[in-house]
């Protein structure tokens, strides 16, 4: 059972290697690697579900010496989301890239990115996270440049530099901790860390470094151009997975090992930045003229929501209330992940058909692609947080916690974000109703349209109505990891 942990990281890595060695068969090999990696994750989820949290120390060296991988409740869920989204992106990408050279570049980089994501989610110590971050940044920047346009190149170069700056800052934080404690294992640190100036500085540096990667307001400046200019499957991966994982790592540090170091003021600051991100990102999305730019700005907003949970969780003692709220946070992250990937895949489909993605001229295309428009609509429902999507339940619980704890001021950004999101989503959907002729069928290009549609249905119906099981997994396993 515990073999599934290293396999979850090494299978995509092997796939990357194979697709590099045999670029002519990249698509077949890549799909095989994607299927195998997803199967391993499915195995891992079942294992955690039945046996509780898993931990593997590579080579038999236990912490603080060895490298550990850990699968608890929360990161298993994120791992599962990553696998499903990545599988959908893999299927979609096979049809998206027509160019052989692009395809040859895409698969190794994409599988490398997937391996980095899994490594980050499973990492059990601060240094492993650093390695994962570097890998993630390099693969991500190279993928973002695949579009090949001048704008895409300059955006991805900026992304690379910001990523490096972020990981350097993070590494500085790691060094501080290592100097003071002589080890970096998250589980051990949780028992040893005490409140102090060095620890607080270290946490600030770690958070700052990760905040660059997560595009937390006001460090989100690099995100919209990068995501808007990358090829659609890449944007889907960057928006749905990369940002989410970086944000999750911040939350993990704040709620887990560094919980004793955090102060209410710091948590409120994070929440405030999140709230600013929600309002600012939604506002910019509303003003965006292009569909993919809209989606990119909305990613800034969706990341923001996750940080509003921090001030509400910070003072909460372990117990059912805390588990409920952490579940709500995860539910929101998962829903947004699925929905944002679906949204980008659909946007790419629209762009390929229309030859552009200017929102004001989308009318005919939207009417000609019913399944794609439907995907945009369903994903939009999840992004707004309307029922029955998972983010609605997440938002309900978040509002409940804010009111119950007397921190009612968080209501304002939540409602403002909801209404702004509704405005920008329906600005797009309104174009789907016009007098253009319509096709006879609902789905016209299965391989390109169905992956997005499936992801959107998971976000709206699956996570909305079957979310109860999520808490089942969280309660079965120790929550924090």
């Amino acid at each position: 059972m515990s073999a599934s942990l290293p396999l979850a990281v090494s299978l995509p890595l092997l796939g990357a290697l194979a697709t590099t060695l045999a670029p002519r068969r990249a698509r077949t090999l890549g799909l095989i690697a994607a299927l195998a990696s997803s199967a391993v994750v499915a195995w891992l989820v079942v294992a955690v579900w039945t046996q509780g949290a898993l931990r593997v120390d590579l080579g038999g060296w236990s912490a603080p010496l060895g490298i550990g991988l850990e699968a608890g409740g929360a990161n298993t869920l994120l791992l599962a989301m990553t696998a499903l989204v990545a599988l959908a992106i893999s299927v979609h990408a096979g049809d998206y890239f027509r160019d052989r050279i692009q395809l040859g570049h895409f698969w190794p980089l994409w599988l490398l990115l997937w391996a980095a994501l899994n490594a980050l989610l499973l990492a059990a110590d601060l240094f492993n996270i650093y390695v994962g971050l570097e890998l993630l940044g390099l693969a991500g920047a190279a993928l973002a440049a695949l579009g090949g346009s001048r704008a895409a190149l300059s955006a991805s170069l900026r992304y690379l530099l910001v990523g490096l700056l972020g990981s350097m800052t993070y590494l500085l934080g790691v060094a501080l901790i290592y100097t003071a404690y002589g080890q970096l294992d998250l589980g051990l640190l949780a028992t040893q860390l005490t409140a102090g100036a060095a620890e607080a500085t270290a946490l600030a540096l770690l958070t700052l470094g990760l905040a660059f990667k997560a595009a937390l307001f006001p460090l989100h400046f690099w995100l919209p151009p990068t995501h808007a200019n990358a090829p659609a499957p890449v944007s889907a991966a960057l928006s749905a997975l990369v940002g989410k994982v970086a944000a999750w790592l911040i939350l993990l540090l704040w709620l887990g090992p560094f919980a004793t170091v955090t102060a209410p003021a710091g948590a409120t600051l994070l929440g405030l930045l999140g709230a600013c991100g929600v309002v600012w990102g939604s506002w910019r999305a509303l003003r965006a003229e292009r569909l993919k730019l809209l989606a990119a700005h909305s990613t800034v907003a969706q990341i923001g929501y996750l940080f509003i949970f921090v001030p509400l969780l910070q003072g909460l003692a372990p117990g059912s209330e805390r588990t409920t709220l952490i579940g709500a946070l995860l539910l929101m992250a998962l829903t947004h992940g699925f929905a944002k990937a679906a949204f980008f895949l659909a946007a790419g489909q629209v762009q390929q058909h229309a030859g552009h993605d200017r929102i004001s001229d989308l009318g005919g295309t939207a009417q000609r692609l019913p399944a794609t428009t439907f995907t945009l609509g369903l994903a939009g429902v999840a992004l707004i947080g309307l029922p029955p999507s998972g983010s609605f339940i997440g938002k309900w619980l978040l509002l409940e916690a804010a009111i119950a704890q007397g921190q009612w001021w968080w209501i304002a950004p939540l409602l403002a974000g909801t209404l702004l999101a509704a405005a920008y989503v329906f600005r797009v959907l309104a174009r789907a109703f016009n007098l253009e002729p319509t096709p006879q069928r609902f789905v016209n290009q299965g391989r390109a349209e169905l992956p997005g549609l499936v992801l959107a249905v998971i976000a709206v119906v699956g996570l909305g109505l079957a979310a109860g099981g999520l808490w089942g997994l969280l309660e079965a396993v120790e929550v924090e990891r």
């Binding site: 409920t324 019913p370 029955p388």
Partner: protein, 501 residues
């Protein structure tokens, strides 16, 4: 009856339109037969299931489907007398409207999309009717917004998109307030299961101030759909929708969802006693009265037939809120029975308006001279609906107004009689001229746009039968008001269970 059926039945009733709806999206545009089969199969299955439920609830059987969504949050569909009243109304009128819509949309594009969302819309309405707690209600209420938006925008003209956008602005803003109110109330009172007599009465009086604020929030959210003045602005705009949609919107789905929500909140969350002692009923009654008079006044000056009917809806739906706002069982009966009566009368009127437009191109009241000679059956149905709205005995509307008036006297709210009288006069003032034109004026040389020529029937059969059936219901609901299982009897059953606890 087995217990498995008890836990499944409410869910099955919701799914009986949800599943065909989801499948219809995938149906090829030109497969009319398959689509019609799915539609009718769903509608008839639902009718049978609801029949079982009526029988069960009458014999005090408990039906409840419950799914856990998150800790402390359950999706509950349950049946009580009130939900059965609304579910029956939606199911019967959905069947009729589906037939009408099949006839109305013949040879137009995007029918799979239309009927898909149409079924979703009915599923959401039925979900609202069967919602067993406030969370479920909010979920279905928002899904209803989402499902009706594509129906309002269906035609794809610039006016349709504009109307749909305005509709969305109002309903989503209202939805946000409703959500806030519901969450806030849940933090104070725990899971808000609908219980007859309310659940807030048992809580400490220190919370009463917050209850009042929350009620205003909830009322703002529900008032948008119920078209309470000043939140009614979307309703006249959304009549750009195709006639079957307007019919459904005005009679069953959207405005009724708002009114039904107000009834639920007052009776089954706050409890009518607590609502009265907190002064909330006074607020509701005031808003309802203003809306009744204002809607009628605006209807008076509209020349567009659908616009006049739309303002008439604004006015008539508030009778339900008015009945709810008067403390006393008789007024409650009046409000509840009007939930049904307004539905069947208004759907008749909209079907007829659609027939005039579709057959002759008549859209305005001023074009209706002599239309009764060209389309006697449609005009007969229209007359039944219009006279019922005015409150002429023995039609359905008379029964509602009679109980409202009696209830007002019984509840010591004499001023309501003034509102009722004024509204009755205004109703007559804007409906009777239409009837006069239609029956007694000479028809013009040529109709504006005669799409369907007169053969054996005055218009297509699928357009003619639905208004005749609903018009017959208006007459029967009035004539047989005292018969068992009539809407009135059922409303009295609900009122008895609310007040005689």
């Amino acid at each position: 009856m087995s217990s498995a059926l008890d836990t499944l039945l409410p869910m099955l009733i919701v799914c009986s339109s949800l599943v065909p709806g989801a499948v219809i999206f995938l149906v090829r545009e030109d497969s009319h037969l398959l689509r019609t089969t799915l539609n009718m199969a769903g509608a008839l299955t639902k009718l049978v299931l609801v029949g079982v439920m009526i029988w069960g609830v009458y014999h005090e059987h408990d039906y409840e489907s419950r799914i856990n969504l998150a800790p402390g949050l359950d999706l509950v569909f349950a049946a009580d007398a009130l939900s059965v009243l609304f579910v029956t109304l939606s199911t019967v009128l959905w069947l009729v409207t589906t037939i009408y819509a099949i006839g109305y949309l013949e040879r137009t594009p995007n029918r799979s999309r239309f009927f898909g969302f149409f079924s979703l819309c009915v599923s959401a309405t039925v979900g609202i009717a069967l919602a067993g707690n406030l969370l479920t209600f909010v979920i279905c209420y928002e899904i209803l917004t989402l499902a009706t938006y594509p129906l309002v925008a269906h035609r794809g003209t610039p006016e349709a998109t504009r109307g749909a956008r305005i509709y969305l602005y109002y309903t989503l803003s209202g939805g946000a307030l409703l959500l806030l109110g519901a969450v806030w109330l849940q933090t104070l009172a725990g899971p808000l299961d609908f219980v007859q007599g309310g659940i807030l009465g048992a809580l400490p009086t220190a919370l009463h101030g917050q209850f009042q604020v929350i009620f205003v929030l909830l009322l703002a959210g529900l008032g948008v759909k119920a078209a309470l003045v000043p939140l009614h602005g979307w309703l006249p705009q959304s009549m750009v929708a195709p006639a079957p949609v307007s019919a459904l919107l005005h009679a069953v789905a959207v405005v009724k969802a708002g009114a039904f929500g107000i009834v639920r909140v007052v009776y089954d969350v706050y409890g009518v006693g607590l609502s009265a002692s907190l002064g909330l009923l006074g607020l509701l009654g005031l808003l309802a009265s203003i809306t009744i008079v204002y809607g009628s006044l605006r209807a008076l000056v509209q020349d567009g037939l659908k616009a006049r009917l739309a303002y008439s809806t604004v006015s008539q739906v508030s009778y339900i809120a008015l009945g709810t706002s008067i403390f006393g069982p008789i007024a409650t009966v009046g409000g509840l029975v009007h939930l049904v009566h307004q539905g069947i009368m208004k759907i008749t009127l909209f079907f007829c308006a659609g027939n005039y437009a579709e057959t002759l191109g008549v859209h305005r009241v001023s074009q209706m001279d002599g239309v009764g000679r060209r389309m006697p059956w449609t005009t007969l149905a229209f007359s039944a609906g219009a006279l019922g709205m005015i409150g002429i005995p023995p039609l359905a509307g008379f029964v509602s107004k009679w109980y409202l008036g009696l209830g007002a006297i019984d509840g010591g709210a004499g001023w309501v009689l003034v509102v009722l009288a004024a509204s009755g006069l205004l109703n007559a003032a804007y409906f009777l001229p239409i009837l006069y034109r239609a029956w007694f004026r000479a028809p013009p040389e040529q109709w504006p746009q005669e799409h369907i020529s007169r053969r054996r029937l005055e218009t297509r059969a699928a357009l003619l039968w639905p208004p005749l059936v609903t018009a017959a219901l208006c007459v029967l609901a009035g004539l047989l008001a005292a018969a068992p299982f009539s809407p009135l009897e059922w409303a009295e059953l609900i009122a008895r269970r609310e007040y005689d606890r």
